[in-house]
């Protein structure tokens, strides 16, 4: 004990790093076949817990709860005999270690490529990859999709669906209780489809619009209906434009020749009513949902004009006047 390397080890003697202590605790509890009391743990991990009993207890409780949060359950056993009433602690490695998945190299590589081509924008994807023994790779070629998986509710919701446990959360200012049938990721958003007990009907919720934490009810509380098509349950933009209560269901819109193909792309060639001399095309476009219709129409600025029916034309004029008068 002549030359002491300064910093870490000297400091750790008096005040051991909490991370180091946590690792030592986990190692100790994992290797001992017998459960250990806090007193025994403190004796084994000499000087790592505070000498003060209460402080040591607080440190230990914190370590224990941190480990639990990492997915490492610590069993508590109440002892009998000479130590009657005392609590002892034990960790069963089988409760937190992954069993060997037996992936082939090809399978691991396929998972790696899948992970590289699909960005989740969340830690979970990478964490899982590493735990499975794979690694992040960066392929040079090929399309890469991004589906957000960062929403903190996702894990809870998906887990609850697996258990058929109803969810309760605040949505548009109301408390909703939902038997969830499935999830859909579309256009950067996650949707939840299920039976809404408040409305007594099947409803769709956008997960990022949930205004509270999500609480999970009792497992096996409902049956999964066989005939629900999750993908079709969530309306597309096109369906949204047709779903509304505006008195006119369609409008005729003249689209400038340069953008005519966009109209055909959005609503199909069948939506084209006629082509005019200058190459402009008149389309029959759903407008029941005035809001969605406005978004679509104004995206083309002055290259699209409603030609009928007169009511819809007047409505567009009112929209424009409203904006024009604001300045």
């Amino acid at each position: 004990m002549t030359k002491k390397p300064k910093a870490a080890s000297v400091k750790s003697k008096s005040k051991i790093n909490a991370a180091e202590r946590m690792l030592n605790l986990l190692a100790l509890l994992s290797v001992r076949s017998q459960p250990l009391t806090l007193k025994q743990i403190r004796a084994e991990l000499l000087n790592q817990y505070s000498e003060d009993g209460d402080a040591a207890r607080a440190q230990f409780e914190r370590d224990k709860s941190d480990l639990r949060n990492l997915g490492i359950p610590i069993d508590m056993i109440t002892l009998g005999g000479a130590q009657a009433g005392e609590t002892a602690y034990r960790v069963n490695r089988n409760n937190y270690e992954l069993t060997d998945m037996g992936f082939t190299d090809d399978e691991l590589q396929a998972l790696q490529i899948a992970a590289a081509t699909v960005r989740l924008g969340a830690q979970e994807g990478e964490q899982a990859l590493w735990k499975l023994g794979a690694e992040r790779v960066n392929p040079k070629l090929g399309p890469r999709a991004s589906i957000g998986f960062a929403d903190p509710h996702l894990g809870t919701i998906l887990h609850a669906i697996g258990k058929r446990a109803p969810l309760t959360f605040l949505y548009k200012g109301e408390t909703r209780s939902v038997d969830t049938y499935g999830m859909l990721a579309r256009k950067g958003f996650w949707y939840l489809v299920g039976f809404d007990h408040l409305r007594k009907a099947q409803r769709v919720f956008r997960v990022d619009r949930i205004e509270s934490s999500v609480s999970v009810g009792k497992a096996k509380s409902y049956d999964m209906p066989k005939n629900v098509d999750i993908v079709k349950s969530v309306p597309t933009e096109r369906q949204m434009m047709a779903a509304g209560d505006y008195e006119h269901s369609t409008a005729q819109v003249r689209v400038h020749a340069s953008l005519a193909r966009i109209g055909a792309r959005d609503f199909g060639a069948a939506a084209a009513v006629r082509e005019e001399a200058d190459g402009a095309v008149v389309f029959e476009i759903p407008c029941s949902n005035g809001y969605a219709f406005r978004l679509w129409l104004f995206a083309m600025m002055d290259k699209a004009e409603v030609v009928g029916p007169p009511d819809v034309r007047e409505l567009v004029v009112r929209w424009l006047d409203e904006i024009a008068e604001r300045a």
Partner: protein, 364 residues
């Protein structure tokens, strides 16, 4: 005291390695951090958040993932490990150094975690503690399933049958996750397959492209750098002859595409990526505007990459974002209607009204 004496050999190796790498990494760190902001601003994606000092449990969590991963590989370059786990080399060394002195009493070398650094390599050969990976959390399991399901829909995806057998193995652990009614709807793009094959064969393309910044369709010649989806749209990042820069084109705005017959050098194009792509998501002259949105115009805050966002007491949101052109902003304002207003710059405050009046003229 006994503890410290036995620790010494293991510690020495690491200390030595630390000294050697410290200088190098310090220099490197400065260089990369200087470049970072530009890169983050250019990407529409939420940037990985910069970590502050890590808590004890974060460090432990990281090590419990890292150690089994290392033991499976035995020897990995320190720099590769740091890169893989998105850590600085300093952080990594500090964590490994800590792990190497952990174990069980009496903390003799055989009772410690076996990991050390040797000439820039991380070595973990003997499984003592923490050599098996942690179980996947339920969220991680679902993340893998989501990833695989999305990947299987991509053109040129890794062999579907191999992914299927991998998922079958996962199903033994968590059948509820692999059978989950979780659907991934990627935008259907007729041009995607053609773009992919052009990319893999380095074939130059001529496209007809609708430019929303001018509401017009123009011809361009492009060399594909990357194809990706974001916010529900497919984009192709490409070297564009017209602007002379690397730009992102929305695939659904490509009206037609044909090969020019020319083959380009992928490496040349890709090498310009760092300089060009960072200049901007949409192009060069990016002006910053501040908007206040509310009600049915709140989608503006979600639909575009914003530089900053803040919520006001009355429920409105102030966003600042970069615009490609006055025309593009006018279009956005028109679509947002009465629930969006320009806060700055001053010259755009009346842009919505002017635009509305111009279009209104058509209806007289």
């Amino acid at each position: 005291m006994a503890k410290k004496t036995v620790k010494k050999p293991a510690k020495k190796t690491i200390k030595a390695a630390v000294k050697k790498t410290a200088k190098k990494t310090a220099k490197k760190a400065v260089k990369t951090s200087a470049k970072k902001p530009a890169k983050q601003a250019a990407r529409p994606v939420r940037a990985t958040k910069r970590r502050g000092p890590r808590s004890a449990s974060e460090r432990v969590a990281g090590l419990l993932v890292l150690l089994p991963w290392l033991i499976k590989r035995k020897r990995v370059r320190l720099s590769d490990v740091a890169k893989q786990f998105r850590m600085s080399e300093e952080e990594l060394i500090a964590d490994l150094q800590m792990a190497a002195v952990c174990g069980v009493p009496p903390y003799t070398p055989d009772a410690l975690i076996d990991v050390f650094i040797d000439e820039g390599w991380v070595v973990a050969e003997i499984p003592t503690f923490f050599s098996r990976p942690l179980q996947l959390t339920s969220a991680e399991m679902y993340a893998v399933v989501a990833m695989v399901r999305a990947a299987q829909k991509l053109p040129g995806a890794p062999s579907r049958s191999v992914l299927a057998t991998a998922v079958a193995k996962l199903a033994r652990l968590a059948p509820e996750a692999t059978d989950a009614p979780m659907h991934i709807d990627l935008p259907d793009e007729p041009h995607l397959e053609e773009l992919r094959s052009a990319e893999s064969e380095s074939a130059e393309l001529r496209i007809e492209y609708f430019n929303p910044a001018r509401s017009e369709v123009a011809q361009r010649t492009i060399r594909v750098v990357r194809i990706f989806s974001e916010h529900g749209h497919w984009y192709v990042m490409a070297d564009d002859d017209k602007s002379g820069a690397i730009r992102n084109f929305r695939v659904d705005r490509i009206e037609s595409l044909v090969r020019t017959g020319k083959i380009y050098n992928q490496a040349d194009v890709a090498s310009r990526l760092d300089d060009d792509a960072e200049r901007g998501w949409f192009g060069d002259n990016l002006e910053l505007v501040s908007l206040r949105v509310r009600g049915d115009a709140a989608w503006i805050a979600e639909a575009y990459p914003t530089v900053s966002q803040s919520s006001n007491k009355d429920g409105s949101i102030d966003v600042s974002l970069r615009i490609t052109s006055e025309h593009w902003l006018a279009r956005l304002l028109l679509r947002g209607g009465r629930n969006v207003e320009v806060l700055s710059p001053e010259k755009y405050v009346s842009l919505a009204a002017r635009t509305a009046r111009a279009i209104r003229a058509k209806y007289n």
